[in-house]
């Protein structure tokens, strides 16, 4: 057809249990702060199959990324070695629909901080 839907243009949600389990696995259930981590993502995905995201958390040992609306929420974990000049990385991810992307950093002192960003996946069309 003329209008085929590659991804759902409606908000999607993974099973909360899956998201919670992925978080718990990474944090061990520790409290998460909100300062010291920046997640940058486009407000609207140009293509749900390849959405650029950027995470930055100065002083992080590792950053885990979750797509909270994907059938399988885990996206990846970046561990920073001694020669990482910044606790920063940029990659491209798949999103099954409009949802929050979440990044959680494990800081070198063992504490955790998190940030999330809503990314909209839309059918598009209709320019001004």
């Amino acid at each position: 057809g003329a209008l085929t839907l590659a991804a759902l243009p409606m908000p999607v949600f993974a099973a909360t249990a899956d998201v919670d389990a992925a978080i718990a696995e990474f944090t061990g259930g520790a409290e998460m702060g909100a300062d010291g981590i920046i997640l940058t993502a486009p407000e609207i995905a140009e293509n749900g199959n390849t959405v650029p995201i950027e995470v930055s958390a100065p002083g992080a040992a590792a950053i885990m990324v979750l797509a909270t609306g994907n059938p399988t929420p885990k996206v990846g974990t970046i561990n920073f070695g001694p020669l990482a000049a910044a606790q920063f990385a940029s990659t491209r991810i798949r999103l099954a629909g409009t949802q929050d992307v979440m990044a959680i950093a494990r800081m070198q002192d063992g504490s955790f901080v998190q940030a999330s960003a809503e990314v909209k996946v839309t059918i598009g069309g209709c320019g001004g």
Partner: protein, 541 residues
């Protein structure tokens, strides 16, 4: 109404329109969204233009009486005609067409006579929207704008000529830069166009940053420019503003195609921008809108207006601004003869086609407005009948000139409402559920409370079906009471309907170009009449 005021037309003079107390040391001239209109047109401003979130009830989301009151515009004045919709057809007869690049040239030349180094900046949507631009792949507009000598432009619909043609124009034809700080290559995520250009004007450094339409591959076919990525990229804008300041900019101007509400948010979030020359949403505002220290300028569309902005830049900052939105009344401003000749040269090869009469209209044909316009009602009717569909969809484009009641509809008029590079009129089956999903998606792209999530044009226009919309609700629950108009039956989520539409952003769409469909319909009807559309009920406004 006070119709005696209409005689005021006699008293409007070119000198009045151009008068300006030159001030400061830098002049900016802004034109945007001309949509390839080389000659004067009719263009009715929207009746419904709803703002949501922080923009609710704020300019530019004021229309009719609210707009006239806010800006102190007299009833039935030339300003009402130019800036608003009430009594449009009657006032059009009185005040005449607006725009025309030869009249714009006269205004630009007059400003340059005053301030020879004035910066002329084009906000884009320049190379698309007419028969001649379509047939020449934008070359007519490139030729004419080269003669107008802008200092820079940015872009949106330009990219629907396809990236090869855009690069051909930028590299081989365009005599000024196309700026786009937010255009990146997809593979390595590196800037693909110049982000800004520094100009020395009146002894000060003025940085002009380009911001192309952020939602390019979403609102228009991404396959036409597959290697480019856009986006609002607020952090990138902040970085480029800083780069410009570090390079010595004393005034920072963003030549933007974000759309007004996106610019309002960007102005609030990104420090250091003195002026945003807004575009894309086709708003014409008689005064700048101040957000923090940033002046937002809205210069309309279709060549109806040129903005002049004089800046007093001293001690590394903008001390004051003086502004005028200059209406281009085609019967008042004398055309520039050289530009008239150049415009004529572009149109001559197509003169017969442009002038061909297809039929006549009893009704005012216009497009602009959030939900429907008579042009799209006509297009939807043509789609329903010519393609034997249950439901028709026509995209909520903001471009498209008007035709007055009683006038002939020429091929030029039809192409002014349809000319673009992916015009295929498709016919397909869709379930009621899918139709609902599409309406919800498009509505969210217009009424999401955060402007950075608004990618769209106006609401998709629908033929054969009515619905109720609550613009204040979240996505998924705005659209209710979808109804088949002919039977009054509710749309069945599970049933399949024959849907005809045009301008799909998907590749390999099949069907005749939309102008052929509408032409056949107009010719068959002879004279078209479009009844007022009451099929969309709006709540939450």
């Amino acid at each position: 109404g006070n119709w005696s005021r209409l005689s005021a037309q006699q008293s409007i003079t070119q000198d009045d329109l151009l008068s300006f107390d030159t001030t400061g040391n830098v002049s900016l001239i802004h034109i945007t969204d001309i949509h390839a209109q080389l000659v004067p047109v009719w263009f009715r401003e929207p009746q419904i233009n709803l703002g949501v979130g922080d923009a609710a009830g704020q300019p530019p989301h004021l229309t009719g009486a609210d707009f006239l009151q806010r800006y102190g515009i007299e009833p039935n004045s030339s300003a009402q005609y130019a800036l608003s919709y009430p009594d449009f057809a009657a006032l059009a007869g009185e005040y005449g067409r607006m725009g025309g690049v030869d009249r714009i040239a006269t205004v630009v030349n007059a400003i340059r006579a005053d301030r020879p180094d004035a910066l002329l900046l084009d906000g884009g949507d320049t190379w698309q929207g007419s028969l001649t631009a379509l047939r020449t792949d934008g070359q007519d507009m490139v030729n004419v704008f080269n003669a107008l000598r802008p200092d820079a432009m940015t872009a949106h619909w330009e990219f629907t000529l396809g990236i090869e043609r855009v690069m051909d124009i930028v590299e081989n034809h365009l005599e000024f830069p196309l700026l786009g700080a937010n255009i990146f290559d997809v593979e390595w995520d590196e800037p693909a166009f110049e982000p800004f250009k520094m100009f020395e004007r009146g002894g000060v450094q003025v940085a002009v940053i380009g911001q192309a339409f952020p939602y390019m591959p979403i609102a228009n076919p991404g396959y036409m420019f597959p290697d480019l990525s856009f986006g609002v990229r607020e952090a990138r804008m902040a970085e480029v503003v800083q780069q410009a300041r570090d390079a010595g900019a004393e005034a920072v101007v963003v030549l933007s195609h974000n759309g007004f509400d996106v610019d309002r948010k960007m102005a609030a979030n990104v420090p250091g921008i003195d002026v945003i020359l807004t575009g894309h949403t086709h708003d014409a505002l008689p005064e700048p809108l101040l957000v923090g220290k940033t002046h937002l300028i809205a210069s309309g569309s279709h060549g109806k207006f040129v903005s002049r902005l004089d800046l007093d830049v001293r001690d590394g900052e903008v001390k004051s601004v003086a502004h005028k939105l200059i209406p281009i009344f085609a019967d008042v401003i004398a055309p520039d003869p050289q530009m008239s000749a150049l415009v004529e040269e572009q149109r001559a090869p197509f003169a017969d086609d442009l002038a061909e009469v297809l039929g006549k209209t009893d009704s005012l044909l216009y497009r602009r407005g959030n939900f429907n316009g008579t042009w799209d009602d006509l297009i939807c009717q043509a789609l329903l009948e010519e393609r034997e569909a249950d439901i028709a969809l026509s995209p909520g484009f903001r471009w498209g000139a008007s035709v007055l009641p009683g006038q002939d509809i020429t091929r030029e008029d039809l192409m002014n409402a349809t000319a673009m590079s992916y015009p295929e009129a498709y016919r397909t089956e869709m379930t009621g559920e899918m139709l609902h999903t599409i309406l919800e998606d498009v509505a969210d792209n217009l009424f999401h409370p955060d402007p950075y999530y608004q990618q769209g044009g106006d609401m998709v226009r629908v033929g054969g079906m009515g619905y109720r919309i609550d613009i204040g609700k979240p996505q998924g629950s705005r659209i209710t009471e979808m109804t088949v108009l002919t039977t009054g039956e509710a749309i069945d989520p599970a049933r399949s309907y024959a849907v005809a539409g045009w301008a799909s952003v998907n590749p390999e769409v099949e069907g005749p170009p939309i102008w052929d469909v509408v032409e056949a319909y107009i010719k068959r009807e002879g004279t078209v009449s479009v009844a007022p559309n009451t099929s969309v009920v709006v709540d939450g406004a």
